[in-house]
């Protein structure tokens, strides 16, 4: 469990949206999907996951519906709304640009060249 990473602020929402890209899931399945997708690197605590889910539902990015789980239990399923899908696309783009920029800075082997003036 030492490899467990802290969630960076703002990344949780985009991960949840991404997890729902392939179809409706209940909260447990979302946490499971993120854990497995990140090779157990990202572990979601329930105390963080559910407030995030409810917030996204409130914003209209997710829609919820009661249904039956694989083991025939009553569960609340979340799915992306059109707004949520749009949000996911734009956040992925932002995240990629950010990650690339951070990577560039961290991967640098020499200080930048002086800027030209005029």
């Amino acid at each position: 469990m030492d490899s467990k990473l802290e969630f960076l602020r703002g990344t949780l929402d985009v991960l949840i949206l991404k997890a729902l890209m392939w179809g409706p899931l209940h909260g447990y399945a979302i946490a499971d999907l993120i854990r497995r997708q990140s090779d157990d690197a990202l572990l979601l605590e329930e105390g963080t996951l559910y407030p995030a889910l409810w917030r996204l539902e409130n914003k209209g990015l997710l829609a919820a519906e009661w249904g039956l789980s694989e083991n025939n239990r009553k569960a609340k399923f979340y799915r992306l709304t059109p707004d949520g899908r749009k949000q996911l696309r734009s956040e992925v783009k932002t995240w990629e640009a950010y990650a690339a920029a951070v990577a560039k800075v961290l991967g640098a082997s020499q200080p930048p060249l002086p800027e030209e003036i005029g």
């Binding site: 409706p24 209940h26 909260g27 447990y28 605590e45 329930e46 105390g47 559910y50 407030p51 409810w54 917030r55 539902e57 409130n58 519906e65 009661w66 249904g67 039956l68 789980s69 694989e70 083991n71 025939n72 239990r73 009553k74 569960a75 609340k76 399923f77």
Partner: protein, 897 residues
């Protein structure tokens, strides 16, 4: 996700429950996690503990979930509500479009009622609610003693009194005034072709500063200009500047020729300042000149007083202050005996109350009248909607059966009311705007502030309020009626003639009776006001206003001594009257300085010879300076003789007095030939009464008259000259020849208006006519609406009873019998309404009794006439359905079922 089985769908049978939702959701997660951990080899106990760890504080988490869930639930409900409302709205438009004529009738009725309400509200708002158009106007006061028979002379002050009061008081920031004894067209503007008449008012130099009026161009009078020396100055009103000087932006500093004096324009007043609107309803003023207090010092009472109170000073404080200084104030400082003459005269009244206070009762009556019109309109609409609702019973039943709740159906009905009343309000606002614009341009109505009439935000707010109130009023009864009715019953009901219809019919009859009663109340009030107005027109004014007209005459009367000036003046007047008498169609002509029902003046207190001046309080008669012929030209009745051209400046001093004066001076005796004294006991003048004329209404048509005295123009100096001409020809056709004749004698004669005397009377009674016409119009509107209501109910009942009537006819009832029955039914409704209305009328008549003139609020003729009118109109409105009923074909009617 699997499809949810049917039984699961009822999990939230009793409405949404966010708390349970959160609990279920978290429990599911917890169970899944425990299962997983057990699968990985943990004991159930260990697994439970391990699983719970990730949730942190479970209670706090559930709290968050519940709150967010509730928020969403609320939002969803609101969204649902709006969706429903939009759906209702769309449905309303669809149904109203289907019933186009019904909708049109409703909207027109509402537009008339709402339009009348908004227009009257605007008038009330302008005259009563809105402050005067001056900054801090609630600190402005009118200072005058209470009204007395000697007219504005006793409501004004001398130059000395003004200056002393201004210096001695402690409660006023400043005091100002204007010269009260002007007549229209008192100046002559030359230099622009023919001489043109102009009206000026002389104001004390600080007048505009005290009111808080700032010039649009140029500046106000400076203190030096306030006492005019060699350089006379004037301020133009905006209207005159535009009309006469084409809004010349460089007008300031230019000189114009006013009655032979080069006058420099120092500024133009803003368009918002309308002197006439505030101080002299209906008057138009062209320019203002500074009042020369020095020159006017010997002229007695000449200025009105207007004060601006210091901040925080109350009216009682100002009154105390006025009473404190009054005993030390002289009418003329040169005459010690005039000290204290203005005791109890410095009484401040808020300027607003002075301007519109007298109209308060009339306005409130008018406001109530439109309120009643609105009520009638609402009752009428209630009735129409009920009739429609009865016809739509099956529609509602079907909707109910398909799952629409009762609340939803009531909401649907209210929505219809709101849509109708909204459309009515929009149309009504348009009507009101037209009416208001028209009213604002009525210069012949002597109501203050009328020219400032407009629809402002407050009037718009009132429109919305009235529309909403109306929608509730007329929408609620039909809505509740439908909601309380049994929907299934209606569904089973195969249509007209059934129980529900009968119940509707009863409510509708009650509504119609109410409507008739309200209309009756309006009609009686209007009738009483009309009768009062006719009585006012019947008042013996003391002169014949018809077949006479007057024109302001320009003349020159220079002379070294008063006698010489008098002789010159008489020569000029003599020539004018001789020339005018020669104009074809002129029956009589004479000159006076103040016409009746306008400004007036008094100047001293005569007493009869043989009595003492101090013996009793002798009246201050109103004074008129006239030429021979005036009494005849005016159509007054004379006992004794008129002045003659032989009554010269050096002849015996002669006067005419009116009957009231004669009664006071020589009660029970013939006044002709008696002597009046003026001045004081030691030093007095003596006038011989040569004739007694009848009382002339001077101040107003309705008030009684006091003492009046007439002096010959040869012996006293007139202020102006109004030529009065009596003719059988229409004045307009005579005007050119009169003006031509005057110009022949005096090329400087301005093209003043040749005004029929009747217009002066009309102007004086115009406020009463205005209110009477408006209340009358509302009463007619109420009558029409009530008639419509009766027609609707009777016509509907005939339709409903078609089968019954058919059966009766098949059994041998004649057409006449059927017709009589329907008419009897109509009359029954009308009679109930009239009886109820008569009682209501007595109450309302008491409220307007102070507006009546020589008319009893219980005038039986008015009540009888209005009852007959209502009954007649009701019968008329019942006649059409009655005829239809008598023509029902029994076979067809029976086959319908």
């Amino acid at each position: 996700m699997k499809p949810t089985p049917l039984w699961r769908r009822y999990a939230r049978l009793f409405g949404p429950d966010p708390e349970a939702d959160v609990r279920d959701e978290l429990r599911f997660h917890l169970e899944c996690k425990i299962d997983e951990l057990v699968r990985h080899g943990l004991s159930p106990e260990q697994a439970r503990r391990e699983a719970a760890r990730g949730f942190g504080d479970m209670r706090a988490l559930m709290q968050i979930g519940r709150r967010m869930g509730e928020k969403m639930e609320r939002r969803k409900r609101l969204a649902d509500y709006w969706t429903d409302a939009v759906q209702d709205l769309r449905y309303t438009f669809r149904t109203l479009r289907r019933d186009r004529s019904f909708a049109a009738v409703c909207v027109v009725i509402l537009a008339l009622a709402i339009g009348a309400n908004v227009a009257v509200f605007s008038v009330v708002n302008t005259l009563l609610l809105r402050p005067l158009p001056f900054p801090d106007s609630n600190r402005l006061v009118w200072i005058a003693p209470p009204p007395s028979p000697c007219g504005i002379s006793c409501a004004t002050f001398s130059a000395d009194a003004y200056e002393e009061f201004r210096a001695m008081n402690r409660t006023y920031q400043d005091v100002t005034g204007y010269e009260a004894f002007t007549t229209p067209d008192n100046l002559r503007l030359t230099g622009h072709g023919d001489p043109l008449p102009a009206t000026s008012i002389m104001v004390i130099g600080n007048f505009f500063r005290v009111l808080g009026v700032k010039p649009a161009i140029g500046r106000l009078f400076t203190p030096e200009q306030a006492s005019p020396g060699p350089h006379p100055v004037a301020l133009l009103t905006d209207a005159y500047w535009r009309r006469q000087f084409d809004a010349d932006p460089a007008i300031v500093g230019k000189a114009i020729d006013m009655s032979g004096t080069q006058t420099t324009i120092v500024g133009v007043l803003p368009p918002s300042f309308d002197f006439g609107a505030v101080f002299s309803p209906g008057a138009k003023v062209d320019l203002f000149t500074p009042l020369d207090l020095e020159k006017e010092r010997n002229w007695g009472n000449i200025v009105t007083l207007i004060g601006r109170l210091k901040p925080g000073v109350t009216i009682p404080q100002a009154l105390d202050d006025g009473n404190r200084v009054a005993p030390d104030i002289y009418q003329s400082v040169k005459r010690p005996e005039t000290k204290g003459q203005y005791k109890d005269a410095f009484i401040p009244v808020r300027l607003k109350d002075y301007v519109t206070g007298k109209l308060r009762r009339s306005l409130i009556a008018l406001w109530s009248a439109v309120g009643v019109v609105l009520l009638i309109a609402c009752v009428n609409l209630s009735n129409l909607l009920l009739a429609r609702a009865a016809a739509r019973g099956r529609e509602f039943a079907v909707r109910g059966a398909l799952g629409a709740g009762r609340g939803r159906i009531v909401r649907q009905l209210l929505m219809e009311s709101f849509v109708l009343s909204g459309a009515g309000a929009v149309l009504g606002l348009g009507l009101a705007m037209t009416l208001i614009t028209w009213l604002a341009h009525q210069t012949s109505v002597a109501l203050p502030l009328l020219s400032t009439l407009r629809i402002d935000t407050r009037a718009l707010g009132w429109t919305v309020l009235v529309a909403l109130a109306a929608a509730f009023l007329f929408g609620l009864i039909p809505g509740l009626k439908i909601a309380s009715g049994n929907l299934q019953e209606a569904l089973k009901d195969s249509g007209p003639g059934a129980g529900v219809g009968r119940k509707h019919q009863r409510i509708r009859s009650v509504l119609v009776v109410t409507e008739v009663a309200l209309a009756c109340m309006l009609l009686v009030s209007a009738g009483l006001l009309l009768r009062s107005f006719l009585k006012v027109l019947d008042v013996d004014l003391g002169f014949e206003p018809d077949h006479a007209a007057s024109i302001q005459v320009d003349y020159d009367e220079s002379g070294k001594t008063p006698e010489e000036a008098g002789a010159n003046r008489m020569a000029v007047f003599g020539r004018i009257i001789e020339r005018i008498n020669a104009v074809p169609g002129v029956e009589a002509a004479g000159i006076v300085d103040f016409l009746p029902l306008g400004p007036n003046r008094e100047w001293d207190t005569p007493w009869p010879q043989g009595k003492k001046p101090t013996e009793r309080e002798w009246p201050d008669p109103l004074v008129y300076v006239v030429t021979p012929g005036f009494v005849r030209a005016m159509g007054m009745r004379l006992q004794g003789r008129d002045f003659t051209w032989a009554d010269g400046p050096r002849g015996e001093r002669v006067v005419l007095i009116n009957a009231s004066a004669a009664r006071i001076y020589w009660p029970g005796e013939d006044a002709v030939g008696k002597i009046l004294m003026r001045g004081d006991e030691k030093n007095h003048e003596v006038d011989r009464v040569v004739g007694v004329v009848n009382d002339v209404h001077e101040e107003s048509v309705e008030a009684s008259t006091g003492a009046q005295i007439y002096y010959p123009a040869s012996q006293q100096t007139p202020d102006w000259a109004q030529l009065v001409v009596r003719t059988k020809l229409p004045p307009a056709s005579l005007a050119p020849s009169i003006l031509r004749a005057l110009r022949e004698l005096n090329p400087r004669q301005p093209a003043a208006e040749f005004r029929p005397i009747r217009t002066i009377v009309d102007h004086a009674v115009s406020p009463r006519r205005f209110f009477m016409l408006l209340v009358g119009a509302f009463a007619v509107l109420g009558l029409v609406l009530a008639t419509l209501g009766i027609y609707g109910v009777i016509s509907y009942s005939v339709t409903q009873q078609a089968q019954e009537i058919g059966v009766r006819m098949a059994l041998g009832a004649g057409a006449g019998r059927i017709q009589r029955d329907v008419l009897f039914n109509t009359l029954r409704l009308a009679t109930a309404g009239i009886i109820l209305g008569s009682f209501a009328s007595m109450a309302s008549a008491r409220l307007i009794s102070s507006l009546l003139f020589v008319t009893s609020p219980w005038d039986s003729r008015v009540y009888a006439a209005m009852a007959l009118l209502l009954a007649g109109v009701a019968l008329l409105s019942g006649y059409l359905p009655a005829r239809r009923a008598s023509r029902i074909d029994p076979l067809r009617a029976l086959r319908v079922q």
